[in-house]
Each structure stands twice: as structure tokens, then as C-alpha cells.
């Protein structure tokens, strides 16, 4: 990932987030849930990185760990030149305005006992010493920016619809002019008709304020719409990280391929002919991941090496990173290894 010439806004290196398990009468530390296990990526300023994967694969944990809402187990998270993971508390507090979050459930992310004006001005209370009039002016500005009527300022969250609540959450995240926003499934709890509105709003805001997003979602078509590059996660690791168009036209990692084959095809002719890859079995427990590749238990193209050796995320084509031994051999094994690999590939495609 060293190919990018300008310095990326967000650089994540080998991020690990393990949650300890305590068991027995003495609450002994008996293992870890490896929610995120060695994730590396970076995000350029002004870019949107989509993060997709099935439930429980650690997407949200990555988002929260990036903002240090969890104390991470290992790794570095450099945002705008500072390692957030190791900042002391007061420096971290000063750093918070540059990175903000939009939450999944707009109902749960707004305090039911605070008015809209107080919710949006909360970041201002924390980080500015402005007087009330100036804060109110800023609140009105933000409400305009996200398309909320100024008359709503004194209302409470329960008086709004889901889409409006999500706008409130976005306004709050914008209050301190952040550079980087983690959108943690911001549209998952909304009606389909509202989802597009919110996504378009996020895009508009990105254009106007030059924001950088990490867009976490399990909605693959939405990610296709908004993201520039997409990372596919499986069981705490990144399986593939590719530019959007390349990924959606030809996914390289078998898991990405299976995942994308599940996207609904609006064209009925193509829908009739499309091939769905249905994975067998369940996702292994992150407390006890399989030896070797995490996906080896369900991979349709698994071979012996996958079960013993964990594949690293490598660049296989310019800008495309895949953690899979299939491609690893292709690039690293040289001419002598190549025929064998091709054979494997053909077998995989015939299946």
C-alpha cells in the first residue's frame, strides 16, 4: 500500500482488537474474541472507502477502534499525522474534532431528553468557548446544511422520522468541521426510500466540505454507489481491497466473489443468467478462528496450503490487494509455479 504518492489522511497498520473472554469460577482469562485481527488500509483525503462484510465480521469494530472508542489491542491508527491509538487522554480530546462518527441507529444515537439544538450544539459545548448566540447560529447553519427546517430546533428526537433523525446525527458529526467521518451503517436502519436521500446528502456534504469517509455497510449496492474503493472483510481480516469498479466487475478473492454474487440484479434478463455462489456452513467463531486462512473452511477453491498458512494481504494488480494463496502463487512463485496455478484457477471457475 505504499503506492499512493500524497500522504493518506488515515493510515491503519496491523490493527488488532481482541476482546478477552473470562471463564470459570476464578474468571480466568481463557481466550480472546479476535473481532479485528490484523487489518491494514489507508484512506486518501477526500476519498470514500467502503467497508463491507457479513454480520459479525468486525466492520463496526474497525470503525469504532479507528476513533478509539475501544482501547485497541495492537496496531497503529494514524489520522492526519497523529497516532490516535497511543495519544494521551487530553491530546486525544483535542484530536476528537478531526474525526467523527455517524451511527447506525438514529433512534438510539440521540439522547431522547435533549432538544435538537442541544444535541447538535453538544460538540460545540465541549470544544469551543462560544456564547449561546454564536452556538445557535452555528446550529442553524448545520441544520441548513443537512436540510432540516430551522423551526425544528426546539423539538425532541422522538418527534422526527428516521431519516430526519439521521440528519440530526450527521449535523452533530459535522459541527466541529471534521476531516474524517466514520459512517457506521448509517442507512441500515432506514426505509429504502430514505436511504438514497441520506446517501446523497452524505455525498453532497463530502463535496462541499472535502470530507473523507469510511463507509461501513452490508448493503453492497449502496457501497457501490458511494465508495471509491472497497474493502471486503471476513472474520476480522480484510479479504480484498480494490477500487470499486474493478471489484464489482471482477472480484478476485473467492469470498468477495461469493459476497458480490448475492447482490440483486435489477435487469431481469441478466438476473436469470447470473450465477450465485452459495457458501456452505457457518462463519467460524472469532474466538477460535481456523488455522491458516480464515475462509478456508468455506472456500469453494480451498487447497492444502490454505489450511496451514495464513495468506497476507498483497498487491496482485495495481491498486488491488488480495489475501489469498491463489494469487500469491501467481505473482510470487515465478514461471515454474505458474502452470499449476492456472490449473487451479480453471478448476475454480468450472465449479
Amino acid at each position: 500500500m505504499r503506492d499512493a504518492s500524497p500522504k493518506p489522511l488515515v493510515q491503519v497498520t496491523d490493527l488488532k482488537m481482541h476482546f478477552p473472554i473470562y471463564s470459570g469460577i476464578f474468571r480466568r482469562h481463557s481466550g480472546d474474541v479476535k473481532a479485528v485481527d490484523g487489518v491494514s488500509f489507508d484512506i486518501q483525503a477526500g476519498e470514500t472507502l467502503g467497508l463491507v462484510g457479513e454480520s459479525g465480521c468486525g466492520k463496526s469494530t474497525v470503525g469504532r477502534a479507528l476513533l478509539r472508542l475501544y482501547e485497541i489491542t495492537a496496531g497503529k491508527v494514524v489520522i492526519d499525522g497523529e497516532d490516535v491509538a497511543s495519544l494521551p487522554p487530553e491530546a486525544l480530546r483535542k484530536k476528537r474534532p478531526t474525526m467523527q462518527m455517524v451511527f447506525q441507529d438514529p433512534q438510539a444515537s440521540l439522547n431522547p431528553r435533549m432538544t435538537l439544538a442541544r444535541i447538535i450544539s453538544e460538540p460545540l459545548d465541549e470544544h469551543t468557548d462560544w456564547n449561546d448566540a454564536r452556538k445557535l447560529e452555528r446550529v442553524y447553519e448545520l441544520m441548513d446544511a443537512v436540510g432540516l427546517n430551522r423551526r425544528f430546533a426546539n423539538r425532541f428526537p422522538h418527534e422526527f422520522s428516521g431519516g430526519q433523525r439521521q440528519r440530526i446525527g450527521i449535523a452533530r458529526a459535522l459541527a466541529l468541521n471534521p476531516k474524517f467521518i466514520v459512517c457506521d451503517e448509517p442507512i441500515a436502519a432506514l426505509d429504502v426510500s430514505i436511504q438514497a436521500q441520506v446517501v446523497n446528502l452524505l455525498e453532497d456534504l463530502q463535496e462541499r466540505f472535502g470530507l473523507t469517509y469510511l463507509f461501513i455497510s452490508h448493503d453492497l449496492s449502496m457501497v457501490r454507489h458511494i465508495a471509491d474503493r472497497v474493502a471486503v472483510m471476513y472474520l476480522g481480516k480484510i479479504a480484498e481491497l480494490s477500487p470499486r469498479d474493478a471489484l464489482y466487475s471482477l472480484p478476485l478473492h473467492p469470498y468477495a466473489e461469493a459476497l458480490l454474487s448475492a447482490v440483486n440484479e435489477p435487469d431481469p434478463v441478466r438476473a436469470a443468467t447470473r450465477k450465485r455462489i452459495i457458501l456452505k456452513g457457518d462463519v467460524p467463531s472469532p474466538a477460535n478462528p481456523p488455522l491458516g486462512c480464515n475462509f478456508s473452511t468455506r472456500c469453494p477453491r480451498v487447497f492444502d496450503r490454505c489450511r496451514v498458512e495464513d495468506p497476507a494481504l498483497r498487491q496482485v494488480e495495481p491498486g488491488r490487494f488480495v489475501a489469498c494463496h491463489l494469487y500469491d502463487q501467481q505473482t510470487a512463485a515465478g514461471p515454474t509455479g505458474a502452470p499449476e496455478v492456472n490449473e487451479r484457477n480453471q478448476q475454480g471457475e468450472l465449479q
Binding site: K94, S109, E122
Partner: protein, 301 residues
């Protein structure tokens, strides 16, 4: 739209008061409690009982209600009305202050135990310990050990009051602490608390702004029940001779004094019993109304 048309964010006090007023029970409770407080504060100034000689008093004992003694007299010929008023002062004060102590202490322990993980173990074990203690013996020991010492410093009446209020408060905070801790544990995982953390709010701010306002409902319920409990515990202590000095009337003591004559003179039990019940009922309704008024989701309707 012009800026002039914008309503300024107003304080919520008016909205809270309006919702409170629309709760019939709460208004009724407020009026009844207000009347009771007037009765015990202003009453003794208006109704001055006649001074009787001992021989007269003994002749006039156990009288029924009459114009001379509106609520009758007790077994020593003392005017029940004036005793009810004086007793009410102490009972109401004990009930409200002991409840306040219990609620403040219980909420403090509950919030700290719920929010800060490292304090949870020690504080909740302390709560369990207090729950396991047999209360009456503990109160007896407390009163026995400290009554005279405190009385010598701040006088017998105030001393007894302080001791009893403290004793009741310190032995009735546990339920509140447990309820609040449970509530805080769920609240602190809510996304709006997470949002506040991602903004960089300090723990104190998060607790004051996001956690405490949302534990108001259970605390309010515990508080209103606590008043009744405190008044009754005080009467138990008085009954055991460990509360206020014997010549000091409280509603609980009047109740127990009247208990032995209940079959002959039932009104002697009815008056203090009625006063305690009315207090408890009105405080309950006020608490109910306040809880609704403080919740914007209910307030809107």
C-alpha cells in the same frame, strides 16, 4: 424564512410545568401535600391548646371529638389535634430528608458502580453487605452508641432528628443503588453515550448530561416509595423507644400509642394513620407526575 421568525431555544421548565399540571393525580398530590405542610407549619400557630392542670387532664382523657378537642384527647388528656400537628412536623421532615439522603447516596453509588468498571465490584459488594445486614438491630446499635454523644453536641431534639434521619437514610439506599446501577449499565452502551464519547465529552459531562436525566424515572419511583418507608421506620424506632424522646410526638408514635386502645377508641389510630397514608399517596402521585413531566416523549402528548 427570516431569523426573526425563529423561536429561540427556550428553557424546558415551562413545558415541564404544563405537563405536570395536566396530570390530575399529581396536582391532587401537590395540593394535599401542600395542605399537610400548611397544617403542620401554620396549624400550631392558629390552634393553641388550652393549658390544663394535671387533675383536669386526667379527667378529660380519652375524649371523643368535640368542639373543645376537635380530634379528641389521648390517654393523658392531651389535645390530639395539636399533637398531630407537632408530630407531623417531625414525621414529614424525617420522611423527606431521609428519602433525600437515601436517594442521593444510592444514586451516587449506583452511577459510580455502573459507569466505572473498576469500582463496580467493591461498591456492589458493599451494597450486598448492607442489604444482608439486619436493619433493626443495626439501627438500635447506632442509636444506642451515638444518641447521647450527638445530643450533647447539638441538643437532644436536633440530635435525635439528625441521628434518625442519618440512620434511616444510610440503611435504605441499597435498592436505589441497585436499580440505578442496572439502568446505568444499559444506558452507557447506548449509541448516544458512544456519540458523546466520540465528541470527546468528559465522563462527568456524560454522566450529568446523558446518564442522570435518563435514570430519573426509576429513581423517582424509588424516592416516592422511600418517603413512606422512612416515616414508617421512624415510627418503628419510636415504638422501640429508640427514636425521639417519649414526650416528642411523631405520627408513628401516635399510631403506636393508639394501638393498644384501638378497639375502644379507633379514631386514635385513624388520625395518624390517615395522615401517613395521605402523605405517602400524595408523594407517590407527585413523583408519578414529575416522572411524566420530565420525559419529553410523554410530554408531547
Amino acid at each position: 424564512m427570516t431569523d426573526a421568525a425563529m423561536p429561540k431555544p427556550v428553557s424546558q421548565n415551562r413545558a415541564i410545568w404544563q405537563q405536570f399540571r395536566s396530570h390530575k393525580g399529581a396536582v391532587f398530590g401537590l395540593i394535599v401535600l401542600g395542605l399537610l405542610i400548611l397544617f403542620v407549619l401554620i396549624g400550631p400557630l392558629v390552634w393553641v391548646p388550652e393549658k390544663l392542670k394535671v387533675a383536669e387532664a386526667i379527667r378529660l382523657k380519652n375524649q371523643g371529638p368535640s368542639l373543645r378537642f376537635p380530634l379528641g384527647t389521648d390517654q393523658l388528656g392531651r389535645d390530639m389535634l395539636s399533637r398531630m400537628m407537632l408530630a407531623g412536623r417531625i414525621s414529614l421532615a424525617v420522611g423527606l430528608v431521609a428519602m433525600l439522603i437515601a436517594i442521593v447516596f444510592g444514586t451516587l453509588i449506583g452511577v459510580v458502580a455502573g459507569y466505572y468498571r473498576r469500582f463496580e465490584g467493591p461498591l456492589m459488594r458493599l451494597t450486598d453487605m448492607f442489604l444482608a445486614l439486619p436493619l433493626i438491630p443495626l439501627l438500635l446499635v447506632l442509636v444506642m452508641l451515638f444518641r447521647d454523644r450527638i445530643a450533647s453536641v447539638i441538643g437532644p431534639e436536633l440530635g435525635a432528628f439528625a441521628l434518625i434521619v442519618f440512620a434511616i437514610g444510610i440503611t435504605s439506599w441499597m435498592a436505589t443503588a441497585r436499580i440505578v446501577r442496572g439502568e446505568v449499565l444499559t444506558l452507557k452502551e447506548r449509541e448516544y453515550v458512544l456519540a458523546a464519547r466520540s465528541i470527546g465529552a468528559r465522563p462527568r459531562r456524560i454522566i450529568l448530561r446523558h446518564i442522570l436525566p435518563n435514570v430519573v424515572s426509576p429513581v423517582m419511583v424509588a424516592a416516592t416509595l422511600g418517603v413512606a418507608e422512612a416515616i414508617i421506620t421512624e415510627s418503628v424506632l419510636s415504638f422501640l423507644g429508640l427514636g425521639f424522646p417519649p414526650d416528642f410526638p411523631t405520627w408513628g408514635r401516635l399510631l403506636f400509642d393508639g394501638l393498644q386502645y384501638m378497639q375502644v377508641y379507633p379514631e386514635r389510630v385513624i388520625w395518624p394513620g390517615l395522615a401517613i397514608s395521605l402523605t405517602v399517596l400524595s408523594v407517590n402521585y407527585i413523583g408519578d407526575g414529575l416522572r411524566d413531566a420530565l420525559d419529553p416523549r410523554i410530554r408531547g402528548r
